[in-house]
Every structure is written in structure tokens, then in C-alpha cells.
């Protein structure tokens, strides 16, 4: 913007100087032409009578009034180089118009040709003069005819023009700079918006760019969206591959476990133990792959309400045979606009495992509540009416979560996965006492801005 402004100023300045110089030159040329006419009249009208030079009778009134500004003089150039005025206009009274030696030399160099000089006249006024040196027949010395006029009016004109030009160009320059500012401010607004949107995609506030960009930017926003989609697709494919591999191993494991359980003995025990280890390894690496894939995706925004609804319906079905068929009642609350900053699958794992844990231990009632808390955070609180955990065991239950290998699936609280996943999202799990009498699990998680 600074460069554009400076450039505009420079161009306007050059144009101004050029215009002013052109105007001044044109004015002087016109001025010179009228002077040349007078010089020619003097030259053509002069006669030699009895070896004496006679000036023509000129009707120009201005040359008769004293110091009127228009003057003429006929000079005799003596052999010693001195200039002796022979006849002069009356307007000069008794002043002389003196030529400088350089001017005299120039006249000498081009006899018969009109030359134009700047000089000083009576009352020290700046004059413009048309001068011609010629040889008159019957006259020994060269004669110089000089007509001059006060040039201050054209100087004044030129100055006036320069002022007007400067003023006009100043307005033009100011206007151009303003246009540049407006262009940058408003014309580039969509670009600024694009930058903001890309940033919000990166922060996970949006999944893609809007498609209401002006024509010039639309291809760019389309390409960016395509890139985002491609990125997501690659990650998704990677995840699917890993998932397929892991899941493909599970059926053979089932077969081994079943076979082993049907043939008691030492071999069966070893197979069972090893199959269990393999299963843990598969689960562990499945989660690791998911976590790796997660770090590559740009943050996603996952609305919480529909997931809690789905999980509540699903879990009530899973636990419908519990407590002699009375099942489990899940009472959940969540503001409609609450969104988790992260992947849907991950939030399902987090909430699903915590709620399933509550379902395992409760007597029949689970209460889940999701709510925003503080700057870009949310809390998911799950209460049950089961036996709960004494404080010293709560710490242990969370500690166990730090080392996956020690924690056999299906035993304990099953909260290690939740703890691991919450940490991956920069969150935390807290265990406490529930007002319903059982355990309260509180997840602190990142919240996506609405």
C-alpha cells in the first residue's frame, strides 16, 4: 500500500512537471513568433539614405509609450565589436538594451537568422527579445535589429497554470491513493475472510470453507475445500485399513479361545492367556493408529446432543436384562448447541465407555449431563446409583489407566481407555461421589466454539 501510494505520488509529480514545462514552452514560442514579426518589419523596412540608417515607421502604439514594455532598437555593429544604437523605439526613452557578449557571438555565427534571447530591460524588467543580424546593402557595418517585450505576463500565466496543474494533480493523486486504500480495504476483504476461514478450519471451528466467494477467489476456495476433503479421505482410508487388519484378527482369536475352552489342559491355558494378550495388543494398536490419524486431521466439531441420545438408547438396550429385566434408565441433559472439539468416533468412545461403566455398576439409574465450562471447555458428568468407589480406590483406578498393559479388558472399571483418550485431547477424568449414591465420573474436554 505504501509502495502504491509512493508510486502514485511520483507519477503525478512527473506529469505535473512535464505539463508545466510544456505549457511554458508553448507560451514562449507564441510570444517569440509575434516578436519575430516585429523584427522582420524592422529589418524589411529599414533603408539606407546617404549612408545613414533609417528606421521604418511602425504603427505599434505600444512601442511609442514610455516603458510600455514593448521595445525595439536597431544597432550598428562597429568593426571593433561595440554595439552602437542607431535608432530606438520611443518607449525606451534613453535606456539601452544591452546584448551580452555571448549573445553577440551567437548573432555573428548565424547572420540573417532570427535568434531569441532573454535579457533585462528598463526598470530591470525581464524581457524576451527577437534579434537578427543582417548586412544592409550600402551600409558597411552589420546591423542588428532587436525587438523585445516584457515577458512577465507569460511568466505569470505559466505560474498560474503551474499552480492550477499542481492543484488538479494533487486532487488526482489524493483520489488515486484513496482508491488504492479502498481497494485494499474492501477489494481484498474476501482474501482476509479466506484467511480467517482457513484459520478456523485449522482450529476446528469449521469443517470447510464457505462457497460464497467472489468469482476471482472461488477457484481457490474450491481447491482448498478439495484439499481438505482429500486430507480427510486419506486419514479415513488409513484408519479403515488399520481397523480392517485389527478386526480381521479378532475372529481367529475367538476361534482359538473357544477351542481352548473346550479342551481343558495346560495347552488350553497357554492359548487362552496368549490369545488374551493378543487381543489387548490389537486393541491397543487400534487405538494408537486412531490417535495417529487424529493428529493429522484438522479439528472436527462434533455436536454432543445427538450422540448422548444415541448412546442412551443403545445402552438402555444393552442393559435391558439387568436387575431382573427392569433394565437401566438413563436420564441425560445437554444444551442443543454444545459441540465437542474432536472426532465423533472418539467422543462416542469417551461417553460410551463412561456410561457403559455406569451401566455395569448401577442399580438402575444413570444420569449424564454435558455442559459448557469456561473458555472452550466442556464437562461431561456421569452419575450412577451403584456402590461407588471409596476415595483411595478412585486414585488407583485412574493410576491404572496410565499403563495400559497392566489393565486387562473386561476387568476393573474399564476407564483406562477413557483416560487415555481424554489425555490425547488434552482433557482429564475425575472420579468422585455421586449425589445418586454411586460413582461420579467427570470428563473435562475441549469444546468447539459455536
Amino acid at each position: 500500500m505504501l509502495f502504491a501510494g509512493g508510486w502514485t505520488l511520483l507519477v503525478v509529480l512527473v506529469a505535473g512537471v512535464f505539463l508545466t514545462v510544456q505549457f511554458r514552452e508553448a507560451a514562449i514560442r507564441r510570444f517569440d513568433q509575434s516578436l519575430a514579426v516585429l523584427t522582420d518589419d524592422l529589418y524589411a523596412g529599414s533603408t539606407i539614405e546617404d549612408g545613414q540608417l533609417r528606421a521604418p515607421f511602425l504603427t505599434d502604439i505600444r512601442a511609442t509609450r514610455a516603458y510600455s514594455g514593448r521595445y525595439w532598437v536597431i544597432l550598428d555593429k562597429t568593426p571593433d565589436g561595440a554595439m552602437r544604437p542607431v535608432v530606438r523605439s520611443r518607449s525606451l526613452i534613453d535606456s539601452d538594451l544591452m546584448l551580452s557578449s555571448a549573445q553577440i557571438d551567437r548573432l555573428e555565427a548565424a547572420p540573417g537568422k532570427t535568434q531569441y534571447f532573454d535579457m533585462r530591460g528598463p526598470q530591470d524588467k525581464p524581457l524576451r527579445a527577437a534579434v537578427i543580424q543582417a548586412q544592409l546593402p550600402g551600409y558597411a557595418n552589420p546591423v542588428v535589429f532587436l525587438a523585445a517585450e516584457d515577458r512577465s505576463p507569460i511568466d505569470a500565466d505559466a505560474d498560474h497554470f503551474a499552480r492550477i496543474t499542481a492543484f488538479a494533480l494533487l486532487i488526482l493523486g489524493g483520489g488515486l491513493i484513496l482508491a488504492v486504500v479502498v481497494q485494499v480495504r474492501f477489494g481484498l476483504q474476501p482474501l482476509f475472510r479466506l484467511r480467517r476461514e482457513v484459520a478456523s478450519v485449522r482450529r476446528g471451528k469449521a469443517e470447510r470453507l464457505a462457497d460464497d466467494y467472489p468469482e476471482e477467489l472461488e477457484p481457490l476456495s474450491r481447491e482448498l475445500n478439495a484439499l481438505l476433503a482429500h486430507n480427510q479421505e486419506v486419514v479415513e482410508r488409513q484408519r479403515t485399513h488399520v481397523g480392517n487388519l485389527a478386526h480381521a484378527l479378532k475372529t481367529p482369536l475367538s476361534v482359538m479361545l473357544t477351542e481352548a475352552s473346550q479342551q481343558p489342559g495346560q495347552l488350553a491355558e497357554v492359548v487362552e492367556r496368549q490369545a488374551q494378550t493378543m487381543r489387548e495388543q490389537v486393541d491397543h494398536h487400534l487405538r494408537r493408529a486412531r490417535a495417529a490419524a487424529r493428529s493429522q486431521t484438522s479439528g472436527e466439531r462434533t455436536p454432543v446432543e445427538p450422540i448422548l441420545d444415541e448412546l442412551a438408547v443403545t445402552l438402555e438396550r444393552i442393559f435391558q436384562g439387568k436387575s431382573d429385566g427392569r433394565g437401566v434408565e438413563i436420564d441425560w441433559r445437554c444444551p442443543e448447541d454444545l459441540a465437542f472439539q474432536g472426532e465423533k468416533q472418539d467422543f462416542m468412545e469417551l461417553a460410551g465407555n463412561v456410561m457403559e461403566n455406569a451401566g455395569k455398576w448401577c442399580k438402575g439409574r444413570i444420569r449424564a449431563e454435558a455442559a459448557p465450562s469456561g473458555e472452550a471447555r466442556m464437562l461431561l458428568t456421569v452419575d450412577d446409583d451403584g456402590p461407588g468407589l471409596p476415595p483411595e480406590e478412585r486414585a488407583l483406578a485412574l493410576k491404572r489407566g496410565q499403563r495400559l498393559d497392566e489393565n486387562a479388558p473386561g476387568t476393573g472399571l474399564g476407564l483406562s481407555i477413557v483416560d487415555e483418550l481424554a489425555r490425547a485431547y488434552g482433557g482429564s477424568v475425575k472420579l468422585g461421589e455421586s449425589p445418586l449414591g454411586g460413582l461420579r465420573v467427570t470428563l473435562d474436554l475441549p469444546r468447539a466454539e459455536t
Binding site: 481397523g243 485389527a246 478386526h247 480381521a248 479378532k250 475372529t251 481367529p252 482369536l253 475367538s254 476361534v255 482359538m256 479361545l257 473357544t258 477351542e259 475352552s261 473346550q262 490369545a275 487381543r279 441420545d309 444415541e310 448412546l311 442412551a312 438408547v313 443403545t314 438402555e316 438396550r317 444393552i318 435391558q320 436384562g321 429385566g325 433394565g327 437401566v328 434408565e329 438413563i330 436420564d331 441425560w332 441433559r333 465423533k344 468416533q345 462416542m348 468412545e349 461417553a351 460410551g352 465407555n353
Partner: protein, 225 residues
């Protein structure tokens, strides 16, 4: 008791057939989705054990087709995919229980017994209100045959309103029937549940009677039951 086992892995199928037969069940086996769908639609099974990763037609699609074709046989999904998103999808398709591989056979048998016990529950007449139907035996509700996914509290509220359809029911009365005990609930509890029901049933079925409560009515043009 006749069971349909849908599983494509030959070893696992053989083992499960043996286990189930030992437990006293008659077992039919389908190794792919197409055959499973055909058998499920044409034979009167008491329960189905359904693998999800199947050749030809996948398990979730088979289940959806059965449910759309009014095959109400209880289904236990047996799958390697144990993520919650998979479980939710399975139950959405109409599953009654879900067991992730690898599993212990004792657990499978226990789940199967529970499933059969539940489905043998006594029949009760279904309720309807226009295109809305509620089956108290299976604790399921549907609109125009499309099953609704309701939590037990939502179901309980809808059940009560259907038993008293056409009548304006006050908030206090609804809260009392929603929760067995007297809990210190905030005053908008009922609004929250009515809002969720409206979202799932369609907004017009539940009418708000200002100052008095709510009323469940069939939509205009729908036949009253």
C-alpha cells in the same frame, strides 16, 4: 428353541454350532448375507446370532431388511467391531444385543438365554394414535412403521400420553409419572422431554395448552384409533 447362526468363518461356525447344540438349541447355519436373509424371512427362529462382516450382503443390511419386512426375531450381533459407533449403528438397525469378538462362549450363552427370556414376555395390546404406534411388550414405538429410537424416560412419557391421548395433561402429573420417586427436578424437565419427543415424533403431534399442559392428538386427516 431354534437358532439361526450367521457366521462366515468356518472354524468359528463349527465351534458355535457344537456349543449351541450342547446347550440344547437347534441350530441352522448361514455362511453369507443372502442365505441369512432368506432363512430369517422364511423360518420361524427364536433368535438369531448375526455376524456383521459377511460375504454378499453385510450383517447390518440383512438386519435392516428383516426389520423392514417385519421380522421381529430377537437378534444378537456378534462382531469384531466393538467401537461405540458400530454398536450404535447395530442397535439402530434393530439389534437386541451386541457382543464383541473375541468372546467367551459362556458369555454368549448367557446373553442368548437373556434374549430368549425377554422375548418370551407376555403380550400386551399395542397402543396407537394416528400413525403413531406403541408396542408395550417390546417397549418400542413407531410412526408409519418407522421405528422410533426412544430412551426409557422418553418412552415412559409417550406411553403415558398415549394412554391418555386427547386429554390435556398437566406438567406435575407428567413429572410424577416420569420419575418413580420425588426428585428435585428443575421446572423445565418436562419441556426438555416434550421437546425431544417432538423432535422424534414430529412437532405437531404434541400440542401445548397454555397454562394447563400438553395434549397428544393424531394429526389432522389421520384415522383415530
Amino acid at each position: 428353541m431354534r437358532i439361526l447362526l450367521v457366521e462366515d468363518d468356518p472354524d468359528l461356525s463349527r465351534q458355535l454350532k457344537l456349543t449351541l447344540a450342547d446347550a440344547g438349541y437347534a441350530v441352522d447355519h448361514a455362511p453369507d448375507g443372502e442365505e441369512a436373509q432368506y432363512l430369517g424371512e422364511n423360518e420361524p427362529y427364536d433368535a438369531v446370532i448375526l455376524d456383521l462382516g459377511l460375504p454378499k450382503v453385510d450383517g447390518v443390511s440383512v438386519l435392516e431388511r428383516w426389520r423392514r419386512g417385519n421380522v421381529a426375531t430377537p437378534v444378537l450381533i456378534l462382531t469384531a467391531r466393538g467401537a461405540w459407533s458400530d454398536k450404535v449403528a447395530g442397535f439402530d438397525a434393530g439389534a437386541d444385543d451386541y457382543l464383541a469378538k473375541p468372546f467367551h462362549t459362556e458369555e454368549l450363552l448367557a446373553r442368548l438365554r437373556a434374549l430368549l427370556r425377554r422375548s418370551a414376555g407376555h403380550a400386551a395390546p399395542s397402543l396407537s394414535c394416528g400413525a403413531l404406534r406403541l408396542d408395550p411388550r417390546a417397549a418400542r414405538a413407531s410412526v408409519n412403521g418407522e421405528p422410533l429410537r426412544l430412551t426409557s424416560l422418553e418412552y415412559r412419557l409417550l406411553h403415558y400420553m398415549m394412554m391418555h391421548q386427547g386429554r390435556v395433561i398437566g406438567r406435575t402429573e407428567l413429572v410424577e409419572h416420569l420419575y418413580d420417586q420425588d426428585f428435585d427436578r428443575d421446572s423445565n424437565t418436562i419441556e426438555v422431554f416434550i421437546g425431544r419427543l417432538r423432535k422424534k415424533l414430529g412437532a405437531d403431534r404434541i400440542e401445548t395448552v397454555r397454562g394447563l399442559g400438553y395434549r397428544l392428538t393424531p394429526l389432522e386427516g389421520e384415522a383415530t384409533a
